[in-house]
Amino acid sequence: MSNSDPLEHFVAPYDDSVSFDELPDAPPTTGYRPSIMGWIGITVAVFWLAVALIGPFIAPYGENALPFPDAYSEFQSPRSGAWLGTDVEDRDVLSRIMFGAGRTIGISLSATLLAYLTGVVLGIGAAVSGPRVDMAMSRINDAFLSLPTIMLGLVVVAAVGSSIPVLIVTAGLIYASVVFRLSRAIGMEIMVMDFVEAAKVRGEGRWWIITREIWPNARMPLITDFGLRLIYVILFISSLSFLGLGVQPPKADWGSMVRDNLGALQYGGSIISVVAPALAIASLTVGINLIVDDVSAHGGGKLSKRM
């Protein structure tokens, strides 16, 4: 089968009974399947989540118990009975990490959920509202955004005192302004799509448009961002704890553990008491990051193609 002579008229063999149907689009894509990096992230995140949930029950010692009450010495090296050594007050580092996991992850998760609840409701609300309401909400939000987060956190905590609810509300509201910006932008983008206009022409109310037309399309990018925002909140809570304004002693959380045990670096002793909580923070944030990257490489790409 060669039509090397350009003057030649080539006709493919055909069967009159065959009809030429409209050619289909690309076959439907399958759901999300994690890559290797995604699996690593999931493993790390699930591990820490499990530690947070059951850690306090399986920890070898109590949160403030001394593993070696007879031989008190700060910053003991790892040995049998204390696999990660002891800290500045000779408490078991491993047990404190297991107790701290629940607190660090619990506070961060609650704060991020609060940020999302407030931010998404107000952000999508602003997107579907008229220009005046939107303008007012956005300018107030801009004012919030212009304040440095750590400073704002410091001022609030210093003013009302530190407790876990205060931490959650403070971090939640600080990050709500970022979520507001994002969900408003996503909402605006979807608002101008023809299918939203079609719903308006049909006479649908605002509630239907938000819940049935906008939310299903905004969900994916917002969920992706949720993971990313959680990392920022973990780092924020840890920073506050490091500065002494977060979780208060003798309760353990990873940020405050790093701060309490800084002495090990200055005065000598087992630096594992500093490195272990720092590594815990790092591995959790990296793990979540891997999941977010993997999901957005799949879902985000598909979304942008459809939009």
């Binding site: 060669s2 008229h9 289909p24 689009d25 439907p28 006479g203």
Partner: protein, 610 residues
């Protein structure tokens, strides 16, 4: 690579070329199945087929490029004697700048909006070191002149947004030709353009390809365009060559049934007297939807009047069970008129009546029953259907919303609607992205019909579709109208589609009605000069049509300008070959009755418009 000066040498050859896609489960799917063809110097070879036929994929193989997810799986793509299928990007880089050039469909997306045009046109040869900046500038100037661009000396110093769409398309050709390529790959370069603009671009492409002695691969789904520009045609379906040969053989004596179908899908303009003559029994005086003296525009200026007035004094009556076609180039206010009817853009003056009742100009103030009776169908089914709703929910919602049907009754109605638009009922459980473009457009129509409307506003519903798929949708609309008695307002820039389908035509120019009347009467003289320009710009699948069309007085004048809204005089003044200075540019043209229900807005006597 040496450039052979022999006249008959082969620039590009596809030899048993196979390109396959790897699906997610690891199996291979052949997108291009053993394709053979040649492109010789000075020749234009057209690849023609509908979307999904593999025509773009094949054309890109000339650049040694495969879209992500695709790979060369067999055969050869020989560019100037060398097989490019196995080469790396680094090896291909010199050839891509010097031997092959690619022209994408959208010039607007090709140009960087913040860099001056000349810099972008001359970038490739200067970067490849084949020309100095001065040589490239000289070449660019030569091309601007050859492409008949206005003010060739200075057009290069403008930014892309400062030239018209047709000019930008020609500038893209200049960009491609600046490096003296041996082969040009043009991917649907005129598909997105108005017919009037398409003529100017086709003409420029044709002469410049001949003058530069380049060869070209021209990818399109439009046989009428191909007849004007190609020397050879390769007809593709589902990745296979169905028919190939010289242009006159394919156009005048197509042998393969698929080629015959492609030809049949082109709707010629009805000749005088051939249009459907409406019988008296249909001539009832009850308009389903009537707009009178409508003025509308965008923005809010002083006194509550819009900043930019788009529509002025529009009067249209849509009779029950009839179709009114609205035509004009982009920027003439066609979609604006549909949006006014739907209530999306409240008119600032005038009245809209539905069944004799005055409709509120604003959507929010209309009753649910009024909303139900007027439905809107969008041009792009891709964006008009919510990607996260199943077809069942997309069609089910209006059924429930307007008719209150639930459960089994709703499900039955959805299936009935799918059958009505000739789709299998299993599609109810699919998402929009699991359907082809034509199927999505059918769902889009079914959603409007779900409301059991009296009037359906169709905004360019076939413009984004291939010729065959578009023709099928028109057949469907015709059938639906017979079965349900619905009225259509059919907006399109494609006169031949409108003419084949509409009972009445409204020709809009710059927001004013230029001509209005029964299809038959509008398409026969006397013509408004703008109607004449549109009629003469519709490409015919006939070799040599382009040469004839560009000689005509209308085309010469029409190419001169773009649509501009004016406050005084006739907006068509600058482009009209028959304009009278001192009158047409100063006084708004009067509305002349030239026959029953046939009006032309022009200063000239009907005799002068024959």
């Amino acid at each position: 690579m040496p450039k052979d000066t022999q006249a008959n040498d082969v620039i590009f050859e596809a030899k048993d070329l196979v390109i396959s896609a790897e699906s997610e489960d690891g199996s291979e799917l052949q997108i291009v199945k053993s394709v053979n063809f040649q492109v010789k110097r000075g020749e234009v070879v057209a690849l023609i087929g509908e979307s999904g036929s593999g025509k773009t994929t094949i054309s890109l193989s000339a650049l040694g490029y495969c879209k992500p997810g695709l790979k060369f799986a067999g055969g050869q793509a020989i560019l100037l004697g060398e097989d490019v299928t196995g080469k790396t990007t680094d090896e291909l880089r010199p050839a891509r700048g010097e031997n092959v050039a690619y022209l994408a469909q959208s010039a607007a997306a090709t140009f960087n909006p913040s860099i001056r045009i000349n810099e972008q046109v001359t970038e490739a040869p200067v970067l490849h070191g084949t020309k100095t900046q001065a040589e490239a500038n000289a070449k660019a100037l030569e091309l601007y002149k050859a492409l008949e661009l206005p003010d060739p000396e200075n057009i290069g110093s403008r930014y892309p947004h400062q030239v018209s769409g047709g000019q930008l398309q020609r500038l893209m050709a200049a960009m491609a030709l600046c490096g003296d390529p041996d082969l040009l790959v043009l991917d649907e370069p005129t598909t997105a353009l108005d017919v009037t603009t398409q003529i100017e671009v086709l003409k420029a492409f044709k002469s410049v390809i001949q003058d530069q002695g380049a060869a070209a691969i021209y990818v399109t789904h439009d046989l009428a365009v191909v007849a004007q520009i190609a020397d050879h045609i390769v007809v593709l379906y589902n990745g296979e060559v169905k028919e190939a040969g010289p242009v006159d053989t394919i156009i005048n004596a197509p042998a393969h049934p698929y080629t015959k179908r492609l030809m049949a899908a082109i709707r010629p303009l009805p000749e005088a007297g051939q249009g459907e003559i409406s019988s008296d029994e249909h001539l009832r005086d009850d308009a389903a939807l009537e707009v009178s003296n409508i003025d509308a525009g965008y923005g809010t200026g002083s006194g509550g009047k819009p900043n930019v007035m788009v529509l002025r004094d529009i009067n249209v009556a849509i009779e029950r069970g009839k179709t009114v076609g609205i035509i004009g180039e982009s920027g003439c206010g066609k979609s604006t008129l549909a949006r006014v009817m739907a209530g999306l853009l409240p008119a600032c003056d005038g009245e809209i009546r539905l069944d004799g009742q005055v409709l509120h100009p604003q959507l929010e103030k209309r009753t649910r029953e009024q909303l139900r009776k007027v439905q809107f169908v969008y041009q792009m089914a891709e964006t008009a259907l919510n990607p996260h709703q199943r077809i069942r929910d997309i069609l089910g919602r209006p059924v429930e919303f307007y008719r209150g049907l639930k459960g089994a009754k709703k499900r039955a109605r959805v299936e009935e609607l799918l059958r009505l638009v000739e789709l299998p009922t299993q599609f109810a459980d699919r998402f929009p992205h699991e359907l082809s473009g034509g199927q999505k457009q059918r769902v889009n129509l079914a959603r409007a019909l779900a409301a059991e409307p009296e009037v359906v506003l169709c905004d360019e519903v076939t413009s984004a579709l291939d010729t065959i798929v578009g023709a099928n949708v028109i057949d469907l609309l015709t059938r639906l109208q017979k079965e349900t008695g619905v009225s259509f307002v059919f907006i399109s820039h494609d006169l031949s589609t409108v003419a084949s389908f509409a009972d009445e035509i409204v020709v809009l120019y710059a927001g004013r009605v230029a001509e209005q009347g029964e299809t038959d009467k509008v398409l026969t003289p006397p013509f408004h000069p703008y109607t004449r320009l549109l009629v003469s710009s519709v490409p015919e699948p006939r070799i040599g049509w382009l040469e004839g069309a560009i000689q005509s007085q209308e085309a010469q004048a029409g190419i001169a300008g773009a649509v501009e809204l004016t406050d005084v005089g006739c907006p068509f003044f600058a482009r009209c070959p028959q304009s009278v200075a001192g009158k047409c540019d100063l006084v708004a043209p009067p509305r002349m009755r030239v026959g029953t229900g046939h009006t032309i807005e022009c200063h000239l006597e009907p005799g002068a418009l024959m």
